[in-house]
Symmetry: C2
Subunit: 338 residues, 2 copies
DNA sequence: CTGTTAGCGCCTTCAG
DNA sequence: CTGAAGGCGCTAACAG
């Protein structure tokens, strides 16, 4: 079961090999008659191009890499499905990798991306940059960083960074909460205190909530575990909880349920990240959405343009600003009247 | 930023191109001195092999395709992370696709797999076989079908099918339920009545539960919506619910919560598929696990051996039995004493 | 308008 | 033990 080659098609159509290539790529001037004959033969033999051969000549593989922290996180699973769909539509194939595995596994993945001569990659980096990641970035490939910034990877603006601006969402959430009569608001930071994103969310909370309900009523709890943070806030008579990290919110929902507090009545909550379960939960959970769809779309569009630019042989002159997508507050049932 | 080629390495090491190839592939007899010199040059220049060039000669791309129904389903997300990790460890890169999108999108993905000259694929097919899927299967590539059988794709045993045997799990679940004093057990089939898997689960339930608690007490509810099925079963004084499809169980949990029935006390439930949320829920949900990890491992191992076999030029003689992995009952908190 | 020539990066004979 | 020649499938440049 060897694949049909362009040569087989040429033979079948009674023309030379390059002629077939011309026809299939709409290059050069070919008579309508020959053209049709070639097309017929190709279809008849079910010719399928060999992308390896094509990329050898074109120095473009029509392949991109996508690295996320964890495929098993529905937030990233959604991002992946979004990204792969868009790239597929533009004729690109995606190689997916997850860094949740060992650093070793991640570096192996990145190396295989290089081996595959990918045209570019979208990275959602996590924590500190591994050696492999730094080498990867240094390769000069068209790259887009999504959702998180890693300062180790900063490269003087060569690499576009697209992430979410927490301020609009937090502001809207706090306004809503306040309008419902809540005056003591807690922010749960949870255990993953290293992420710059999470730190920023906390920072913005302190500013915004402080000015809305007064600093003493805007309380941040950042303990070793989310649970202890929640208990701490409860003991300090907080009536609304804002979660910067969605797994913490899930933990809180379980805990409140466990101790018999009704969400939306006894206690109000808002979480970052609009993952599906929040919409399906009862009561449904109000969220500060990162607009991942927009983020994914921008990311793909940006990478596509970077890759095209390089294909045309242009030097990448411009340096990129950090594109920030505003978060939006999605009001559901978990914020009740005080 | 052109890539370093074997030629560059040869030049740097002061040897010919084939010599470098020999060294890098541990072929032929090369003196230790030259060998070392070549290795040093390769490392110094940071040589990264071009897999396109390699695959052109070897007719092996070290690439496999993976098609799942929906990446956004955590069951499949987990399967993907499992599969990609294993393949990566064996030197293969995975191309991931989801058929949840349009049939058109799926066929486009499958076509691009062919274009990429993948060495094999793991398929978790869904519903009826599209034209593209049938053509794909007809290509004769090494294939493994996971988790679901699609009769349209049956090919006289050429393609190994690995799925789960629902009987052991269902049997254990019903024994447990019975030992807790429950005597009326309902099975919720839900809306997706087309899947052969779901039909089999129902079939086995009828047999096993029928013989354990008597046919009149083993009630199947298969309505247009899971919710109406649940209500129906409630009205018929069922005290234990078994769900063949995990999204239905999630819906039930919400509903029971909504109407104030306590799971594990007022009502007991068991669901198929051990997705993370069941373990984290409170009370945690007892499940009939498909042992996806085992299934994934077997699938990968089987495909690897099929691909190796073909690489060695062997005809695939044997035909495969349908390998069935026993389901297991994982007892948690959602089954209470009656 | 179509065929010839050459070469992408690599590996496999086969001479030397 | 090492180098020279040829070819995998495809396309760009040039002849005819």
């Amino acid at each position: 079961m060897n694949y049909v080659t362009i040569k087989d098609v040429a033979q079948e159509a009674g023309v030379s090999v390059p002629t077939v290539s011309q026809v299939l790529n709409n290059r050069g001037r070919i008579s309508a008659a020959t053209r049709q004959r070639v097309l017929d033969s190709a279809k008849k033999l079910d010719y399928i191009p060999n992308s390896a051969a094509i990329s050898m000549r074109s120095s473009s593989t029509k392949t991109v890499g996508v690295l996320v922290p964890d495929i098993n996180n529905s937030y990233f699973a959604y991002l992946i499905s979004l990204i792969t769909r868009e790239f597929l539509a533009s004729g690109y194939v995606c190689l997916i990798g997850s860094s949740s595995e060992s650093l070793e596994g991640q570096d192996k993945f990145l190396h295989s991306l290089l081996t595959q001569r990918i045209d570019g990659a979208i990275l959602v980096p996590q924590g500190t940059a591994s050696h492999g990641l730094q080498k990867f970035v240094a390769s000069g490939l068209p790259l887009v960083i999504l959702d998180r910034k890693v300062k180790e990877l900063a490269d003087g603006g060569r690499i576009p960074i697209i992430d979410a601006d927490p301020r609009p969402g937090i502001t809207a959430a706090i306004e809503k909460v306040k309008s419902q009569g809540h005056s003591r608001i807690g922010f749960v930071h949870g255990p993953t205190s290293k992420s710059p994103n999470l730190l920023e969310r906390q920072q913005v909370f302190i500013e915004v909530a402080g000015s809305q309900v007064g600093s003493p009523n805007a309380i941040v709890a950042s303990h070793v575990s989310a649970l202890s943070a929640i208990k701490d806030l409860l003991s300090r008579h907080v009536t609304t909880f804002i979660f910067g990290y969605s797994p913490d919110a899930l933990e809180a929902i379980r805990y409140f349920h466990h101790i018999g507090l009704n969400i939306g009545e006894d206690v109000s909550i808002v979480s970052f990240d609009d993952i599906p379960i929040f919409e399906l939960a009862s009561p449904s959970i109000s969220v500060i959405s990162q607009q991942q769809k927009l983020m994914g779309n921008y990311g793909v569009a940006t990478l596509l343009s970077l890759m095209e630019q390089r294909l045309r042989g242009e030097q990448q002159g411009e340096s990129f600003d950090n594109l920030r997508i505003p978060t939006v507050f999605i009001d559901r049932e978990s914020v009740g009247i005080r």
